[in-house]
Symmetry: D2
Subunit: 372 residues, 4 copies
């Protein structure tokens, strides 16, 4: 060896157990995505399976959702938080309903009432100019009765019509306690008797037609909340309808008890995530040893380090006995990027074609009404 | 100039309007914190005022909270999301109640029931070992009936006692619809008649004693939800109590309508944040042109770019007519770091000493019961 | 109006200037993505343009990159931080080089040396099992000489061969100061004379063949750093080659001075982002009033609230005179999701077909060698 | 049991191994911080030890730093990324130097040159008004030659003086290759011969006086980079000084080889983090089996899910053989909040009083100059 060559020390690498190094390398090698040959959703997601970071997680989440759909015994529950409908994901969810890719929806009230029902009444969401995101124009927006969601605008005058419509629907109900599921069916019936949605697609309407139950466990915290208050104020001391949040929990738990195997597709976290995970424990409280959710996928950018539920891992949920850990995957992505890829992938893979509608709404309407 | 010196071009800096550069520099210069001389909370926060990033935001938030407390006309509403009580912030909030630093609390159910009431029943939260945060032991934790919140453990058997206790309290109530505020008062009364909390401090108990109303707008989504379901299952067709989430909204709005000026101290986002901001609009729906929340502070690590409400800026809220923008500040920090500093600062500054208790619970108990 | 109907107050909405509300609504309405009809990259990105949040930002970023490619006067500089090559993005970048979609690359050393050159030597990156992400097996991985990057494994023994190879290349160079660009050309020449890369694609090799310069402004901070140290240790007091980081800055600035219009496609932040933005100011220091970067796109999940450069907005860069603000867009997404969509979109749109190679390496080799 | 009581099912909790549940509960219970009685930094951090989330992590990080200081054999290396000096942390770091709480600093160039040296030349950083954070005024700031770092302003005309001063210092050096450490000593010497810093405190000056070496492994990527380019341009073909980044790596590795036990206090990530971790491997390359860094603390808000080095866990570093995992802790906090608490805690605990200065600069000046 010539004098001026470097003498790199490669020997003392401490690979003391080289013989079984392979046990860590079973999962294969990273392969590089080729965007010149793979223009479609299915090959894109397929290519992501051998990449790293969020892309691999996304592919794995798509595989798990695909597996839920292939599992004929499994009921699929979609949970929805964040402003997903105003962000352009309405048709994705409507297509999930139409094609038996979801059996129940647990959502924030805003996604269903302020956004889906709002559009069903014929209104639209507007694209905000980039400069509005700075917040410096919010005072001026207020003067124009325009509400901002990050980069999107809502005409507050139109939203007030939505508020008012929910109040009118409540005014016509017989005075008793309702679950949010029952109320969403009333919203669907309202759309039906007023000529259907005044837009191409509506989650509430589609779910109404196909017996897919929708729950909003914080139903008071949305446009419908104004309707509830207006109804209560108008009735004064006379009997009135109320929203019974406990009944929501009871009903969703009954679905778990009847369905046994369940899979969760969670978009964002919040109350919908926690509430839906909790039905496993609630079934136990009611004396039935229901299995944990068998599959679970969550798309979120929430940071696990604040200890909040929205970001809590699905493994953590398993310590509570809520989610099984064999088929669980979190995807670190804002939902408008990841959800079209995951649902598009599973739509085109077609497992839903062998799936029959579970029609959980009708399941609830007999015994639930009787006992609750 | 010597030949070998560099000729740096400093002239063409385009400072075309140098004469008014000072208009951007009015806020003063950055001063460096000195930790050798400033050991106390007050001088630490004072020093942060002339630093940058989260420290300056924290100091400004403390100043705004201080300003809320000095404003005799202003009612202070605390909103709570995330597992804050299990994380060690219980006494901070109890001290806020004791010293007239808060007039109403809007919280996730879990903070109040699963965590504060749980500790009031004599149970404790446990510190989890570092390795448990990996999630790899969650299956084993499940076998031992230990629930994990990030780095904290709860004994599930103890939590079931908490669930059961809520059910017992509900069983004893006369069958009608209740707001969560009314139910929290029943929890406080339960503690009173069973000898007080079995620990040093309890938010629910302290609030009960001092007429500070507590709301959980998603009251079904916590330990009490199990109690609601158990109560409903036990009652079957017989009359029963229900939780009326619409009444929560009605009551909190009435406080806004009676109080006029309000300030928000928000720890985390979620339903408590949205719900509390919405009461301004709800007052308008009820025909009263209530002013926007005059002050608003939020401590959160949520990322604004997912468009969700938890992370939405307080400026954005002003486009909805909910929050005024003169005195608003978000603090990017996990709450266990920022909240002790903010509350500690304001405690030691002492503005609360000139403040009288608003006793909003009693305010609600006369007219609200009558009209709602 | 019947007595029991709610009387919602919709009048006092303060839309005092309704007549010009439309000025905020020019950008059109949110349209919902249809994943059943749009399987390809181009229609997916097109659909995202009228969605919200990250999807709209991604579509806008793709449009800006497309615009850079259509602008015949514009030189495109790619900056790379984060472990992007080990994550499966190598072929995307090689295709950018092959199709005249990039004119210069500024990267962390690791992406180029530890990952691209490493694969060119015939080695692979391995997919790590999910459980390894917990960190609990890292001690065991160390014993097996396996290095982990989040969810990916590298065989340290293979990486040492890469380190050693860089040292060998340095040993054969004449002793003088080199820019990292010159050294990457030596890496390319090494691959050429040893039979080409031992894998399908190599960024360093493709850039060498096509005269696309590569810079690593922190060239000491990667596998090549070990080579530099080994070379220095072996040479002792005798003359040796050195890496001259100042020359990197000088050379990249010269490209800016010769090219005038430039566009930045930034993946991650770090030194590559800052260094490349700074060449505008450096041109000014050298006495030439170079225009700001005309276009700028960045894909990152870094949070702006820590005040660090990686997350600093492109608007902020404009206060420094570095980036123009007409065509700039940040995309909040982990890169493995967003980059294939952006590059795939622009590849299939085909603006690169009318673009000629700028061959910036040869541009530098005449005057730069003479003057620097 | 009365008929109308709920029958909660608490039995089937699957706590199959109750007898050893205690093994998970050894770490004690959560105790609630009391801000009324604990105004000082030390009791605040002490109270955080039994809280959760970031507060507990911060207390553990403070304990580890305290442990580093008590370990007489351990050399402490501070790494600095992000704009920490402009943010008000200068005096904290100066106090660390003054009180033997740090033995070497590895920093971004900007913290040392653009910020500390800049202030030493008599300039100041300015507090930006809240509205400037929106980015909408950045064009106007540019016109006024004001540079923005998030919420802080720099007068670009003053910064050009700093650029120019570095060029002048380089012009006076004998033409050879320098490590950044040598160049920082020249900066210190410049301050000394021009009458000391024109402000209360300077890291570069204090480190110069106390033989604490400072490295900037990407020294070209800051104000000094402009100086390097100006110097090179002025010299033309004549001999000139160069910055030798490989020598930085060689020198820092020699410190590791001589010191053996080392502890890292990392503020932010970036090149300083990676570079400093790598010296363990580099020592091995040079034929010495140096122990991993024994202690490691990092304060960062970077998200681990992008796979980048800045956010990579200290456990992951241990798979590379860089950091031992017994005493390592990451703290999820923006640095201006956490660093004053950690350093303040350790300052007041006083372990540094028993520590002697390692004077690593002088250590390097004998053998390093001879061999490198």
């Amino acid at each position: 060896m010539a004098n001026n060559e470097s003498k790199l020390n490669t020997t003392p690498l401490k690979a003391t157990a080289k013989s079984d190094k392979q046990k860590f390398l079973q999962a294969g090698t990273i392969e590089h995505i080729d965007v010149t040959k793979q223009p479609g959703i299915v090959p894109i997601v397929d290519a992501m399976r051998t990449m790293a970071f969020s892309s691999r997680d996304l592919a794995r989440a798509a595989d798990i959702y695909e597996r839920m759909l292939r599992d004929r015994e499994c009921g699929v529950i979609l949970t929805l938080a964040g402003s997903m409908i105003s962000a352009g994901l309405k048709k994705v969810i409507v297509d999930m309903i139409r094609n038996n890719m979801v059996d129940a929806i647990v959502s924030t009230g805003a996604n269903m009432v302020d956004q889906d029902f709002f559009e069903a009444l014929g209104f639209k969401h507007y694209i905000a100019g980039e400069e509005l995101k700075s917040g410096l124009y919010d005072g001026e927006l207020r003067e124009h009765a325009l509400d901002r969601i990050y980069d999107t605008l809502i005409d507050e005058e139109e939203l007030r019509v939505c508020d008012e419509t929910t109040g009118k629907i409540f005014d016509e109900l017989e005075p008793r306690a309702y679950s949010s599921r029952e109320l969403f069916r009333e919203f669907g019936a309202y759309l039906e008797r007023t000529g259907g949605p005044k837009c191409d697609d509506s989650i509430i309407y589609e779910a109404y037609k196909r017996d897919v139950p929708i729950f909003a466990p914080a139903f008071n915290d949305c446009s419908a909340g104004f309707g509830l208050v207006a109804h209560a104020a108008a009735r004064g001391d006379r009997p009135r309808m109320t929203w019974d949040g406990g009944k929501d929990f009871y009903e969703l738990t009954q679905l778990k008890m009847k369905s046994k195997d369940t899979g969760l597709f969670m978009i964002g976290g919040g109350v919908p995530k926690n509430f839906t995970q909790d039905i496993v424990v609630c079934a136990e409280v009611l004396g039935q040893d229901a299995p944990m959710h068998k599959y679970a996928v969550q798309v979120t950018v929430a940071d696990v380090r604040d200890g909040a539920l929205s970001s809590s891992t699905l493994k953590e949920a398993s310590s509570w006995g809520k989610v099984d850990t064999v088929y669980e995957q979190m995807v670190f992505s804002e939902a408008t990027l990841a959800v079209p890829l995951i649902v598009g992938y599973c739509y085109h893979k077609g497992a839903w074609k062998n799936r029959t509608a579970k029609k959980w709404s009708s399941l609830l309407e007999q015994p639930a009404e009787a006992t609750a």
